[in-house]
C-alpha cells in the first residue's frame, strides 16, 4: 500500500510541469559543478593519497603547507575587504548621492579597474617599485635614484594595495546600486524635519545600504583570498605564500594530493565567510526601498568640500586605471624598467628574433605563440559568452517558472557554489575530473572544450543572475499566455524571452567575455602549451624574467577588455539609475 502511494506521488511528481526541464538543468549543473569537486574530495581520501589530510593539517609540515599561508590569506582577505568597502563606498556615495562634478566620468572610471586584469596591475607595480632584492631589472623609482625598501617592493603591502586597487570597483558597483534605491522621500522627509547631513547618513542611508555593504565586503573578501596572480608576482620573491600560491606550487611540482587538499580547504575558508556575510544580512532583506515614486531630485550639496572631494575621487580613479595602463604600455617599449621613458623601441612588439635581446625571443607580433594565443583567447571569450548565456538563461528560467520543489532548491544551491570556489581550485578539480575521462566523457585535458566547460561552470552564478534579471524584466503574463496556447518551454524561451531580453543578455555576455579573457587563476592550471592563452603567456613571461613581453601582451588583453567593457556600458547605460539626474 505504501508502495502505491509512493508510486502515485512519483507519477504526480513526473507529471508536474517542467519536470523534464528541471532534471535537465540539474544534470547540467551537477556535471559542471558537483562532479569535479566530488572527484577531488574522493581522491584526497583514496588509498593513493593516504595520510595527506593529516600531513597538511597536523604534521610538522603543516605550518608551511597550510597554517602559515592561511594566516596570510586571511589577513589579505580582511584588509582587502575593508579597504575596498571604504574606497568603493566613498566613491559610490559621491556618485549616487552628491552633486560632485563629473559624476558620470567618475562612475564609469570606478568600474574600470575590475576590468583591468589583476596581474596587469601587479606587473605595473613591479615596473614602478621593484628593488634589487631579487636582482634583475629594478623598477622606475630605483632607476630615479631612490631606494625602495623591501616592504614596499614585495610581500604583504604591495599585494594588498594592488588587490584593493583591483577589487574596490566590485564594492563600488554593489554599493552604488543599493544607494540608487535609497528612497529620496525618506531623505527629504528627514531634511524637512531638520536632520543634519551626518544624521541622515547614519540614520537612513547606512541602514538601507547595510546589506549591500556586507555583500560587497564578503564578495571582495572571497575574491581577494582566491586571487592567484597578485601574491604570486609580488609575494613569492619574499617567500610570502597564500593558499592559492601554495596550491599552485604543489600541483606544479606534481604533489597533487596535497594540492587538492589545499584546494578543498581554500573552498571551505571562502565558503565560511560568504556564509557568515549572508547570515548577517539575511534577516534584513525585507526593506522596501523601491516604491516607484520619488525621483532623485535632491542631492547632497557638498559646498566647499566639492572640489577637494572631487580631486580625491578623481585621483583614486586615475591611479587605479590610467596609471597602470600607461606604465605597462611604457614598459613594453623600454628596454629597462628603471628608465621607463627612455630608449623606446618596438622590439618587444614587432622585433625579429635577435640573439642579443632577451635570449632571442622575437617580438610578440612575430611570435606564433602570441598570435595563436590571441585567437584562442578571443575564441574562448566568445564561446564562453555563448555557453554561459545559454546555460544561465535555461537555469534561470527553470528557477523562475518552477520555483517550488526540492529539485529547484538543489539547483539553486548548486549554482551558487562556484562563488565559493576560487578559480585555481576549480582548475585543479577540472584537471582531476576530465584529465583521464569519465563516464561518457573522453579525456579532455589540453582541449579547447575543457576550457569552455570549466569557464562556463566557473561563471555559473554570474550567468544565472544575469538570466534571472532579464527573465524578471519580462512579465510572467506573456509567458503564461504563451503556455496556454500550448507553447513548450524552449519555444517560449526562444520566441518571447530572448527577443525581449536581448539587450540585457548581450550586456551579460560581454561582461562574461571580459571576465574570461582577463582571467588567470582559472586557466593557469588548465593551460597547455598547445592551447596557449594570453593571460598565461603574460604570467609566464613575467616569471621567466622577460617583463617587457609580459607587459606588451597585457596591453593587448587590456585593449580588448576595455573595448568590450565600454561597449557593455553603452548597452547598460539605460539601467544605471544612479547616473540619472
Amino acid at each position: 500500500m505504501t508502495i502505491d502511494i509512493l508510486r502515485q506521488r512519483g507519477r504526480s511528481l513526473v507529471r508536474r510541469p517542467g519536470f523534464a526541464l528541471k532534471l535537465t538543468a540539474l544534470g547540467i549543473v551537477s556535471v559542471l559543478v558537483v562532479f569535479p569537486l566530488l572527484k577531488i574530495l574522493a581522491f584526497t581520501v583514496s588509498d593513493e593519497a593516504f595520510g595527506t589530510w593529516h600531513e597538511v593539517l597536523f604534521s610538522r609540515l603543516s605550518y608551511n603547507l597550510f597554517w602559515g599561508p592561511l594566516q596570510n590569506t586571511m589577513l589579505l582577505g580582511f584588509a582587502a575587504a575593508a579597504g575596498c568597502v571604504m574606497i568603493g563606498g566613498f566613491l559610490a556615495w559621491l556618485v549616487a548621492m552628491t552633486d560632485i562634478p563629473f559624476r558620470r566620468t567618475i562612475g564609469l572610471m570606478a568600474t574600470l579597474p575590475f576590468m583591468i586584469p589583476s596581474f596587469a596591475t601587479a606587473l605595473a607595480w613591479g615596473s614602478l617599485f621593484r628593488n634589487s632584492r631579487v636582482g634583475g631589472h629594478v623598477g622606475f623609482i630605483e632607476g630615479l635614484g631612490f631606494a625602495v625598501p623591501d616592504w614596499l617592493a614585495w610581500g604583504m603591502t604591495p599585494t594588498l594595495v594592488v588587490l584593493i586597487a583591483h577589487y574596490y570597483s566590485l564594492a563600488f558597483s554593489v554599493i552604488v546600486a543599493a544607494l540608487a534605491t535609497v528612497n529620496s522621500d525618506l531623505v527629504e522627509a528627514a531634511q524637512l524635519a531638520g536632520a543634519r547631513r551626518r544624521r541622515i547618513l547614519t540614520g537612513i542611508v547606512l541602514p538601507v545600504v547595510f546589506p549591500a555593504v556586507v555583500a560587497a565586503a564578503s564578495l571582495t573578501f572571497a575574491s581577494a583570498v582566491s586571487n592567484f596572480a597578485v601574491p604570486a608576482l609580488l609575494g613569492l620573491p619574499v617567500r610570502m605564500q597564500t593558499l592559492a600560491t601554495r596550491l599552485f606550487g604543489m600541483i606544479g611540482i606534481g604533489q597533487t594530493a596535497r594540492g587538492y587538499v589545499l584546494a578543498l580547504l581554500l573552498i571551505l575558508v571562502s565558503a565560511v565567510f560568504l556564509w557568515l556575510g549572508n547570515q548577517m544580512i539575511s534577516g534584513r532583506r525585507s526593506y522596501a526601498t523601491v516604491t516607484g515614486k520619488g525621483g532623485r531630485s535632491k542631492r547632497f550639496q557638498l559646498g566647499a568640500a566639492k572640489y577637494p572631494l572631487f580631486a580625491i575621487a578623481f585621483g583614486i580613479c586615475i591611479v587605479t586605471t590610467l596609471v597602470p595602463v600607461v606604465i605597462l604600455f611604457a614598459s613594453s617599449l623600454a628596454p629597462s624598467s628603471s628608465a621607463l621613458f627612455s630608449d623606446w623601441n618596438l622590439h618587444y612588439w614587432i622585433g625579429r628574433s635577435d640573439a642579443a635581446i632577451a635570449q632571442g625571443q622575437p617580438g610578440i607580433w612575430h611570435n606564433p605563440n602570441t598570435l595563436s594565443a590571441t585567437a584562442i583567447t578571443v575564441g574562448l571569450g566568445v564561446a564562453v559568452a555563448l555557453t554561459t548565456t545559454a546555460v544561465g538563461l535555461l537555469v534561470a528560467f527553470v528557477l523562475a517558472r518552477h520555483r517550488e520543489g526540492l529539485i529547484s532548491a538543489i539547483i539553486n544551491q548548486i549554482t551558487l557554489i562556484p562563488l565559493l570556489v576560487p578559480g585555481i581550485a576549480f582548475g585543479a578539480a577540472y584537471i582531476a575530473l576530465f584529465g583521464a575521462g569519465f563516464g561518457p566523457f573522453p579525456a579532455l585535458y589540453g582541449t579547447f572544450v575543457l576550457l569552455v566547460i570549466a569557464a562556463t561552470a566557473y561563471l555559473l552564478p554570474f550567468s544565472v543572475q544575469t538570466g534571472r534579471a532579464v527573465i524578471q524584466q519580462v512579465s510572467g503574463d506573456l509567458d503564461e499566455s504563451a503556455r496556454l496556447t500550448g507553447a513548450g518551454a524552449l519555444r517560449r524561451l526562444a520566441a518571447i524571452i530572448m527577443p525581449l531580453a536581448a539587450r540585457g543578455l548581450a550586456n551579460g555576455a560581454l561582461i562574461v567575455f571580459v571576465k574570461i579573457i582577463r582571467d588567470l587563476s582559472l586557466v593557469v592550471l588548465l593551460f597547455t602549451p598547445a592551447m596557449p592563452l594570453l593571460s598565461v603567456l603574460a604570467y609566464r613571461y613575467a616569471s621567466e624574467g622577460f617583463p617587457q613581453f609580459a607587459n606588451a601582451i597585457t596591453v593587448v588583453v587590456l585593449v580588448i577588455s576595455i573595448a568590450a567593457t565600454l561597449l557593455a556600458n553603452r548597452l547598460q547605460s539605460k539601467s544605471q539609475p544612479w547616473l540619472k539626474d
Binding site: R239, I253, Q359, T528, A530, E544
Partner: protein
C-alpha cells in the same frame, strides 16, 4: 653454375630478407637527408625546453630546414615532468621532444614508465661516450654552482668554504631559486646531504671544531641546509634572476649564490660581472647532464628526430650555429669532438660534484619536505 646461382640467391635472401620482412625502414637509423622529407611532411615539431635559449635554436632550425616549424615551449624541468604525466593520463602528447634536466625524476617517472624514449642520432653516435648515450641522450652538462661578482671581488671568490654561507657576514646575501619549484636546486640540496662526510670535514676546516647537529636534524648536509635558510637565504624565481642579483655591476656588497655557470655568457650584454667560485671546500655545487628525448606518443617522429640531431650541433669543432647558444663558457658538450670553451675552467678542473641520479631519486622527497619545513 646452377648451384652457384641458387647458393648465391640463398645467401642474398639470408642477408636481405629479414630486413625486407620488417618492410618499414628503421626511423632511428635514418640519416638527416632521409628524415628531412618525412619531417617536412609532418610540418612541425613541438619542443618543451628547460632553457630559454631554445628561442635561438628555433630561428636557426627553421632557416636550415624550411617547411618544418619548430614550436618551442620554455618551461622548467619540474613543470615539464608534471605536464607530461598529466598529458599521458589524458592519452595525449603535446610535446614531440623534451629537453630537460632533473634526471633523477626523468629516469624513474618518465623513461621507466614509458612516457619518453631514447634516440641517439646515428650521425654523432661514434663521438658520444657511452654514459651520455644510455639510458638517455645527454648533449651537454649543465651546472648549479656558486658564483660571485668579479667586479666586487677582483682577487677571487670571497667564499672559500661553503660553511661561510651560514655565517653572519653572509646573512641575506646568498641567493638561489626555490628548490621546490626547480628540480635542479632540489638536486643540489640533496647532494649536500649525500656528501655529508665531505661537508663535515669542511665544517671542521672552517670552524676548527666538529659539527654538532640540531635536534631533529639527521645529517650534516641537512644541517647545512637548515643553517642556510636560517641565514635568510634569498629565494628568487629563476636562475636568471640569481645571476642578475649576483652579477649586476655597480653593487657595493653584492650577494653570492648558486646559479648556472654558463650564465657568464651574458656578462657583457647584461652588464654583469659573474665568475665561478671554483676554489671552494668541499665543492662549489653540482654538474649534471641535460637530456634530450622523444615522447613515446609523438605525432611527428621524423621531425622530432631531426630536431634532436640539430640540437647536437653540426660537425665543426664548436658545433656550428645550431649549437652556438650552448657553446659558451660553463656548458660542457658531451660530444668528444667539441672542444671545451676556452674561457671556462676545463671540465677536469671543475670541483663540482657529479650527480648520481639513482641515489638522488631516493632522497629527493624527504629533502623536499625539509625545504618545505624551512620556508
Amino acid at each position: 653454375m646452377k648451384y652457384v646461382f641458387w647458393g648465391g640467391l640463398a645467401l642474398v635472401s639470408a642477408v636481405f630478407l629479414p630486413q625486407l620482412a620488417t618492410a618499414e625502414p628503421d626511423i632511428d637509423r635514418m640519416s638527416v637527408e632521409e628524415l628531412l622529407p618525412l619531417a617536412q611532411n609532418e610540418g612541425r615539431v613541438t619542443v618543451y625546453s628547460f632553457t630559454s635559449r631554445i628561442a635561438r635554436v628555433e630561428k636557426e632550425f627553421e632557416k636550415t630546414y624550411p617547411g618544418v616549424d619548430l614550436i618551442p615551449s620554455d618551461m622548467s624541468s619540474t613543470e615539464q615532468i608534471a605536464r607530461l604525466k598529466t598529458e599521458a593520463a589524458a592519452g595525449i602528447s603535446n610535446a614531440d621532444v623534451v629537453y630537460l634536466s632533473d634526471t633523477p625524476v626523468v629516469l624513474t617517472e618518465l623513461l621507466e614508465k614509458g612516457l619518453i624514449q631514447n634516440y641517439v642520432p646515428p650521425r654523432v653516435e661514434d663521438r658520444m661516450p657511452n654514459e651520455f648515450k644510455v639510458p638517455l641522450l645527454a648533449p651537454r652538462l649543465s651546472t648549479k654552482v656558486l658564483m660571485y661578482s668579479k667586479e666586487a671581488y677582483p682577487d677571487g671568490s670571497p667564499i672559500k668554504n661553503l660553511w661561510q654561507l651560514t655565517a653572519k657576514e653572509w646573512k641575506g646575501r646568498v641567493v638561489m631559486v626555490d628548490p621546490l619549484q626547480r628540480g635542479d636546486y632540489l638536486d643540489l640540496m640533496t647532494e649536500f646531504v649525500l656528501r655529508s662526510d665531505e661537508m663535515a670535514k669542511a665544517y671542521q676546516t672552517q670552524f676548527g671544531k666538529p659539527i654538532e647537529l640540531d635536534e631533529g636534524v639527521d645529517s650534516v648536509g641537512a644541517q647545512f641546509i637548515v643553517d642556510l635558510f636560517e641565514n635568510d637565504v634569498v629565494i628568487v624565481g629563476s636562475s636568471d634572476d640569481v645571476s642578475a642579483a649576483i652579477g649586476r655591476k655597480g653593487q657595493k656588497a653584492p650577494p653570492v649564490g648558486f646559479t648556472t655557470y654558463s650564465d657568464m655568457r651574458d656578462n657583457e650584454r647584461e652588464g654583469w660581472a659573474l665568475q665561478v667560485a671554483n676554489d671552494v671546500e668541499p665543492s662549489n655545487g653540482i654538474i649534471f647532464p641535460a637530456v634530450l628525448a622523444i615522447t613515446t606518443k609523438t605525432a611527428h617522429p621524423a621531425a622530432a628526430r631531426l630536431a634532436i640531431d640539430f640540437l647536437m650541433g653540426d660537425d665543426s669543432k664548436n658545433g656550428g650555429p645550431s649549437y652556438a647558444p650552448f657553446y659558451v663558457p660553463g656548458d660542457y658538450a658531451a660530444r668528444t669532438d667539441i672542444e671545451s670553451h676556452p674561457d671556462a675552467v676545463p671540465l677536469k678542473d671543475l670541483v663540482s660534484w657529479r650527480v648520481d641520479p639513482a641515489a638522488t631519486a631516493k632522497l629527493r622527497q624527504s629533502i623536499g619536505d625539509l625545504i618545505l619545513l624551512l620556508q
